[in-house]
């Protein structure tokens, strides 16, 4: 079984977000970039499947991006971290990820003739939370798409899955190949061990040129969120005041 696991490169969850003077791009100074946390669920599940059947499963990890100027902003380093979970090879498509259409197009172009049985993503990336790329890749490749997947088991080429839906979970079956976006629950996050980290250094690592495609959506600018004023302090002995405030705003 061939698995493709796509990861994105995002600012650390605790990073202070600032933008360049024109507001068009993220100011990357001093920010540590990590593997998108939802992609970690996909990587962990891929590692579990590999562990169960080391010779029968091959996992390729892929990212679309260029390495930044700082060591904390290296797509290659994050791909190596992913490899350290025991996965087989890494591919970086050497292009700035301009919009979701562009990124999905690159991934689909790479995956098209490689015969992957399973293409895994995180459900969304924590920078733009767009949840666009996995579905677009499925549509480009005309493969079934399971969104917000919380489990996948594979038996005889048939996948048994659950996905999150409004107010519950749905059980599904699907013959491989398929595209899946991972929600929490798909697998437990893993931390690479020293042996994995050592081995990752010598695993196959390919840098691929992008195909030509015109992005469709561009960023005009970023703004800070509307500022919050100081909050109104309510005396715990005078809780009625809070009730009145909420009532005045029509909230209760």
């Amino acid at each position: 079984m061939k698995i493709l696991c796509c990861i994105s490169h995002v600012p650390d969850t605790t990073a202070r977000i600032q933008f360049t003077a024109d507001g068009k791009a993220l100011d990357r100074t001093g920010i540590t970039f990590i593997v998108n946390p939802y992609d970690d669920f996909a990587l962990a599940r891929a590692a579990e499947l590999k562990e169960k059947n080391p010779n029968g499963v091959k996992v390729t990890v892929l990212a679309v991006g260029k390495n930044g100027t700082q060591s904390t902003d290296s797509v290659d380093a994050n791909l190596r971290k992913a490899l350290a979970l025991g996965l087989d090879e890494a591919v970086r498509i050497d292009a700035e990820p301009v919009d979701a259409f562009f990124v999905a197009h690159q991934i689909a172009a790479y995956a098209k003739d490689k015969g992957f049985d399973l293409i895994l993503f995180g459900k969304e990336s924590i920078d733009y939370n767009g949840a666009q790329v996995p579905g677009m890749v499925a549509a480009f490749l005309n493969l079934p798409f399971v969104s917000y997947a919380t489990s996948i088991e594979i038996q005889d080429g048939q996948a048994h899955l659950t996905r999150e839906i409004t107010g519950g979970k749905e059980r599904l079956t699907c013959a491989l190949p398929l595209v899946l976006s991972a929600q929490k629950g798909l697998a437990e996050w893993r931390i690479p061990n020293v042996r994995g980290i050592m081995q990752a250094k010598t695993k196959p690592f390919q840098v691929v040129s992008p195909v030509s495609v015109t992005p469709r959506v561009r960023t005009l600018r970023h703004e800070p969120p509307p500022p919050k004023g100081t909050f109104k302090k309510i005396d715990p002995e005078n809780i009625q005041e809070l009730v009145q405030e909420l009532a005045n705003k029509g909230l209760i």
């Binding site: 920078d127 579905g135 798409f145 749905e170 079956t173 699907c174």
Partner: protein, 330 residues
Amino acid sequence: MSAVAVWVEISEGRLKKPTLETLTAARQWADSENLPVVAIALGADFPPNLTATLGEYGADSVIRLKGPQLEPLVNSVYARALAQLMRERQFSYLLLPQTYDGRAVAPLVAVWADGALLSGVTQPPQREGSTLRARRIAYSNKAIEWIATEHLPVIATLRLNSIVPAKNARTPTEEELAYTPMPEDLRLKPVGVEKVATDKVPLTEAEIVVSGGRGLKGPENWGIIEELAKALGAATACSKPVADVGWRPHHEHVGQTGIQISPNLYIAIGISGAIQHLAGVASSKNIVVINSDPEAPFFKVADYGIVGDAFQVVPRLTEAIRKYKEQHAH
């Protein structure tokens, strides 16, 4: 016919709030460009007053695609049908709610209708000449991003709880067509659904959310959260550490790696307000923070703050809300 098309999500035979929000936004969008609103519903069967209700919220016409294989929803089936309609009727725009299924269907439609996708917009996009501009939330509530496209058609998803549903009555025309999915779109096979806590409002759609954190000291103390939620008609949520140690189920976890919500009122009890938690809730319209630590970072984004012991404050608040509601019940 150029139009703003809307995918009408029917869930358990009902039109829920996200659909009404989407219709309201579509009406505003259509008015700004002098276009009609076309509501598109897919299903095996439709609620009795569907067309009339869609008209109340501003639909000029309703297209009902009907077929036994349209339930339960399979994203590829819905997306293929929507993309086909967009092409045949030359709709410029399609708006979907940013629900679980809206988010899964939208990118497929975008590719198959050869469109541009604007994901998670907080208001109807605005046209300026050949450019369509839209606003969305980026970096988990740490920024607002303005995006633009010159491409047509445009597929957009509307962030939940961004628009207040408003009536704008008209008498829509109705068209019902039979739809048979392509076999390749039925490769994914739903086999069953497990619902959780059916008596509660889903967290993503709730107008009021009461949330508890480590400050509550243990799962046995969640009664005060449940009671307050009950008094308010609210959904309950929790912070990540609480879900991680198993005090509360994972589906209640709100935050950067949990569910992201933007209710009208978020009441945080015993939650310090770590940056990852705030990322999931900071776009709530009103935030009440109850915490015994006056230095808790959550107070920085609060609208109302109470420094005090949750075990005393919360029951008192519940009681005061019950009394208020009794006095003001019609």
